[in-house]
C-alpha cells in the first residue's frame, strides 16, 4: 500500500476553522488577490519624481478609489488618474526603510524627546548612541514593549513609520465585512558590490511592530536583519510576528541565494532552518521582470517558456551601465536554481534553507497597488525611467519593464491573521497579472476522477497537502492534482497546464523536467501585435490528476504547477499599436516609440500563474 506521512494541511484547516470572524469564512479557503510590494511618496526615489500618493492613498486605491498620478495642475489636482477595475483584497505598503528616518525621534526639532539627554548624545556622538540605544532597548520596557495591539509603539514612533502604521491600521477592516486587509511592512534595501540586489520586503503579522524599521544601514546583511527582527520583534514584543520576502533575484547576480550564507559562512542546520523560517516566500515577478528560470547556457534549454519577461541584465549595475551588463545565466539565482540548491543543502544538512513558495507583486513607485493590467501601464515611476517623462508621446517606461504580477493567497477569510498564516505555510501562488484561479494538491493516491468531482478542494486537502506543503517518506510515486480556471473578467483563455519538477537523485545528481498535463501547447493560438487581436481557442478550465512517471525511491524533489494563457499583447505592443506604429514605415515611428521596432522588443506575452512548490522530502532516516 502507498504510504505517505501527510502533515500540516488537515491540522491547519481544523485550527483556523475554530475561529471564524469574517462573513466570507470558508474552511476550504478562498483565494485572495493582493500586492505586497508598493511604494509611495515616503520612498524618496518615488517622491523625487513627484509621486504624491501617501500610504493612505495607496490603500484607498487598492480598495477601488481613483488615484491621482503626476503631473499636478494649478489647483493641486493630478492630471492623470488611475483606478483598478477590480479592487484588491489585501496590500502591504513597503516603503524603503533606509529613507524612513530610523532615528526620527531625535532628529525632529520640537518632537518629544528631541531635547532629552539621550538624543543630545545621539546627535553629538551617533556611534556611542547606537550602542547606548541598543543596550537600553534590550533592557528596558520603554523601548521594547509596545503592548499586544502595538498602541504604545504608535505613540513612541513618529514621522513616516508612524504614518505607515496608521495608514495600515485604518485600511485594515476589523468588522465582519472583511473586505480588505493591510499589513504594516517596509522594504529592506540592501545591495552588495556593483549593485547586486539583496532587497527584501519585511511583512509584519499584526499591529505590534518594532519602534522603527530595521534597515540595511543598521544591519548590512540579511543574516543580521533576521537576527535584529528576531530580537526586536519576536523576542521582545508580545504579538509581533514577521517574515521577509526577497525580490528581484534576477538582479542579484547570484548573491541573494548562494550555497553559503550571505555573510560567507557555510550553512549549518540551525542557519538553514532560520533562513527557511525567515523567508518562506520568493517574489517571482514584478515591474522589473520575472525570476523563474532562463534558457541561457547551463540554464534549462528544454523549457521554452523559461525566459518569460526576463531582463537582459542581472544586476542594477547592468541596468544602469552598459559596460557592466551581464545577461542572466544559470547562476543568477533564479527560482529553479535556488530550489535545486535547497535540495542539495537539505541532503547535506537535513534542512532546506530555500524552501520558498512563490508570490507576485508590482513594486509600483506611484502608490498604484496591483495595477497590473497590460492595458494601462504608466511605468514603474521609481528606479526606472521617471513616470512623468514623455508619457503621452512614447513608452512610459523602459521596454523591458512591465506592470508586474499579483500575490494570490489561499486563506479561510480575508483577515490579517488568516492571510499571514497562509503566507507562512506558503499556500500562495503568483500570476503575471490576470486573476487565474489555481489549485494544486499532492498526496499518496488521489482518484483519477477527482477533476470531475465538485468536492475537489475538500478531497485535495483530506488526501494530501496544498501548494507550499511537504510530503515525506514516499514509498511510491506521488500523485498531484492541478486545476486552473481562467480570469473571469479579462485575459485570454488558458492554453496549457504544466507541472514542473526538479529533483536530485539518490546519488545527488540533479534533474529538471516540465510535464504538460492538460490543455494543448500546439493549439495554434496567437495574437496580431499590430491590432492586438487574439486568434484561436483555449480553455476556461484545465485540470489533471497526474502521477509522476519519473519518480524513483530516495529522490528529493519539488513540483510546481504552471498554467499559461494563450498569447496576448504585451503592454508595450499596446502602446505601439495605439500610437499607430508600423515598423515597415519609419514615418509612423514617433519619438519615444523607437523601442517598438527594436530587435529586443517583445510584442507578445503569455500571461501565466505559478503555484508554490510541493516538496517531496526524504524521511528523517535519509542520509
Amino acid at each position: 500500500m502507498r504510504r505517505l506521512l501527510v502533515c500540516c494541511a488537515a491540522l491547519a484547516v481544523a485550527e483556523a476553522a475554530a475561529m471564524p470572524r469574517c462573513a466570507d469564512f470558508n474552511p476550504l479557503r478562498n483565494v485572495y488577490a493582493g500586492d505586497l510590494h508598493v511604494h509611495t511618496a515616503l520612498s524618496l526615489d518615488a517622491a523625487t519624481q513627484d509621486t504624491r500618493a501617501r500610504p493612505r492613498d495607496a490603500y484607498r486605491f487598492a480598495r477601488g478609489e481613483p488615484l491621482g498620478i503626476q503631473p499636478y495642475d494649478d489647483t493641486g489636482r493630478a492630471l492623470r488618474t488611475l483606478q483598478l477595475e477590480r479592487p484588491l483584497d489585501f496590500v502591504a505598503v513597503t516603503d524603503h526603510a533606509e529613507l524612513l528616518g530610523e532615528v526620527e525621534l531625535c532628529q525632529t526639532p520640537g518632537s518629544a524627546g528631541y531635547e532629552s539627554w539621550q538624543c543630545r548624545v545621539y546627535r553629538a556622538w551617533p556611534r556611542a548612541a547606537y550602542y547606548l540605544f541598543n543596550y537600553t532597548a534590550s533592557n528596558a520596557e520603554r523601548l521594547g514593549n509596545c503592548g499586544a495591539d502595538g498602541g504604545l509603539c504608535r505613540e513612541a514612533a513618529s514621522g513616516p513609520w508612524r504614518e505607515i502604521q496608521q495608514a495600515a491600521a485604518e485600511a485594515n477592516e476589523e468588522s465582519a465585512a472583511c473586505r480588505f486587509s493591510s499589513f504594516v511592512a517596509y522594504e529592506w534595501t540592501g545591495a552588495r558590490g556593483a549593485g547586486e540586489n539583496l532587497h527584501r520586503n519585511v511583512i509584519f503579522g499584526g499591529a505590534a511592530v518594532p519602534r522603527l524599521p530595521v534597515s540595511f544601514v543598521d544591519t548590512g546583511n540579511a543574516e543580521r536583519l533576521w537576527a535584529e527582527l528576531d530580537r526586536q520583534c519576536t523576542a521582545e514584543l508580545p504579538g509581533c510576528e514577521w517574515l521577509a520576502i526577497p525580490h528581484n533575484a534576477n538582479l542579484s547576480a547570484g548573491r541573494m541565494f548562494e550555497s553559503v550564507q550571505g555573510d560567507g559562512r557555510a550553512y549549518d542546520a540551525a542557519a538553514a532552518a532560520r533562513r527557511a523560517r525567515a523567508e518562506p516566500l520568493f517574489e517571482i515577478m514584478q515591474h522589473k521582470g520575472a525570476s523563474e528560470c532562463t534558457t541561457a547556457p547551463r540554464g534549462v534549454p528544454a523549457d521554452e517558456y523559461c525566459d518569460f519577461e526576463q531582463l537582459p541584465y542581472d544586476s542594477f549595475a547592468g541596468q544602469n551601465f552598459s559596460w557592466l551588463r551581464r545577461a542572466p545565466s544559470a547562476d543568477t539565482g533564479l527560482l529553479r536554481d535556488v530550489l535545486r540548491t535547497g535540495l542539495v543543502l537539505e541532503r547535506a544538512l537535513g534542512v532546506d534553507p530555500y524552501r520558498m513558495g512563490v508570490i507576485g507583486g508590482t513594486d509600483t513607485h506611484l502608490g498604484a497597488a496591483g495595477a497590473v493590467s497590460e492595458e494601462r501601464f504608466l511605468g514603474h515611476g521609481g528606479a526606472g525611467e521617471p513616470a512623468r517623462d514623455g508619457v503621452p508621446r512614447g513608452l512610459p517606461d523602459r521596454p523591458e519593464f512591465g506592470p508586474g504580477g499579483l500575490a494570490m493567497v489561499w486563506a479561510e477569510e480575508n483577515s490579517r491573521e488568516a492571510l499571514f498564516a497562509a503566507l507562512r505555510r506558503r499556500e500562495t501562488y503568483a500570476t503575471s497579472g490576470p486573476r487565474i484561479q489555481l489549485r494544486f494538491f499532492g498526496g499518496a493516491a488521489y482518484p483519477a476522477t477527482l477533476c470531475d468531482d465538485p468536492e475537489l478542494p475538500s478531497k485535495g486537502y483530506a488526501g494530501g497537502v496544498p501548494m507550499g506543503g511537504e510530503l515525506r517518506g514516499a514509498s511510491a510515486a506521488p500523485v498531484f492534482v492541478a486545476a486552473a480556471l481562467r480570469d473571469a473578467v479579462e485575459g485570454a483563455p488558458l492554453q496549457q497546464l504544466q507541472i514542473v519538477k526538479g529533483w536530485i537523485d539518490a546519488d545527488g545528481r540533479p534533474g529538471e523536467r516540465v510535464f504538460t498535463v492538460a490543455g494543448n501547447p500546439d493549439n495554434g493560438a496567437d495574437v496580431d501585435p499590430r491590432s492586438c487581436e487574439r486568434q484561436g481557442n483555449g480553455a476556461d478550465a484545465l485540470c489533471a490528476v497526474w502521477s509522476d512517471p519519473s519518480w524513483e525511491p530516495r529522490q528529493s524533489a519539488w513540483y510546481y504547477a504552471r498554467v499559461l494563457e494563450n498569447p496576448s499583447c504585451r503592454w508595450s505592443a499596446r502602446v505601439c499599436a495605439a500610437s499607430g506604429v508600423r515598423c515597415d514605415d519609419p514615418a509612423t515611428i514617433g519619438k519615444g516609440l523607437e523601442a517598438c521596432c527594436s530587435a529586443a522588443h517583445r510584442p507578445r506575452i503569455q500571461e501565466r500563474a505559478w503555484s508554490s512548490p510541493i516538496w517531496l522530502a526524504q524521511g528523517p532516516d535519509a542520509p
Binding site: 524618496l44 496608521q166 476589523e174 468588522s175 544601514v217 503621452p392
Partner: protein, 313 residues
Amino acid sequence: MLPRALRYPPLHFVLGGLLLFVLLERPWRAEPPPEPVALTPAVREQLRASWAAATGRAPSAGELHALERRELDDEVLFREALIHGLHRRDPVVRQRLALNMSFLGEELAEDEAVERALAMDMHRNDLVVRRRLVQLMEFALADGADAGEVTRPELEAMYAARREELREPARWRLLQVYFSGERRGATAGDDARAALSRLAVPVADPAVAIALGDPFLGGHQLPLLSATQLEAQFGPAFVSGLAACAPGQWCAPVRSSFGAHAVLIEELQPERLPAIDEPDVRRRLEADVRRQRGERQLAEALGRLRSKYGVNG
C-alpha cells in the same frame, strides 16, 4: 579699595563673560530678517520645461503659478531644515552625501565626507537630499497635532463627510449549480433551466443538487460575498443576472464568464450604513480627524513661514 565682594574672582569671570556676550551678540539688535525666498529665471524655466515634457504642452499661467508656489514652499521648508541643522544630523542625508563623495572618488570617513559635501553646497543641489529635508520639515511641522481627544462634533462632521465611503455593500450567500459553457456549448443555459424541476427548497442535500451540473473550481457553496467580489470571480454578467433572482428560490439560468448557473440565494444582507459608534467605523473616523488636524497644523505653519521668507500666499 574695592568692596570685598567685588574682589571675588568668580564674579570677575561672570562679569567678563557678560561683557563678551554683550559685545559679540549685541542682544538689543533685532534678529535680521532672512533673505527672502524667490525663484531664479533658470528655476522657472526648469519647471516650465519639465511640465512640458510630462504633458506635451506648455503650462497655463495658473499651472505655472502652482508649480512655482510648490517650489517656493519646498525652498522655505528646505531653508528651515538647514536652520535646524537637519542636514548635518539626518542619517539619510548624511549617507547620501557620503555616497556622493565616494562617487567622486573621495575615500573619507563619513563625518569628513559630509562636511566636505556641505562645504561644496552639495546638499542644495542633490534632489534626494532636498526632498528628504523638505519631508522631514513637513513631519516636524505636523507633529503633535494628532494628540488629544477627538470630540463628538469632529467625529460627526467626519462621519457625514465619509458617509458614502463607509457604506457597506449588499452581500449574497449562494448555492450554485454550474453548467459549463465549455462542455455543453449553447445548451448550457437550457440545461440550467431544465435542472430547476429537480431543485427544491429547502435543499435536502447540497451535494445532490451540485451533482446535477458540472464541477466548478471556484466552489458551489459560496460564503457571503459582495457584488464586486462575485464579479471578480464570475464576471459582470453573473452579477446583473443575479439581480433578477429572488432570495430563497432557485433561479436559472444566470450567465457567467464560464457558462450558466442555477442559483439559490440562501441569504441576502442588504446594503447598510454602519452606525457612527461601531468600533471599526469609529476607529477610522478618529484616524481621519487626527490626520486632518495634522494637515491643518502643517498648512498654518507653512503660512507663517511663507511670510517669514517674504513669499506671497
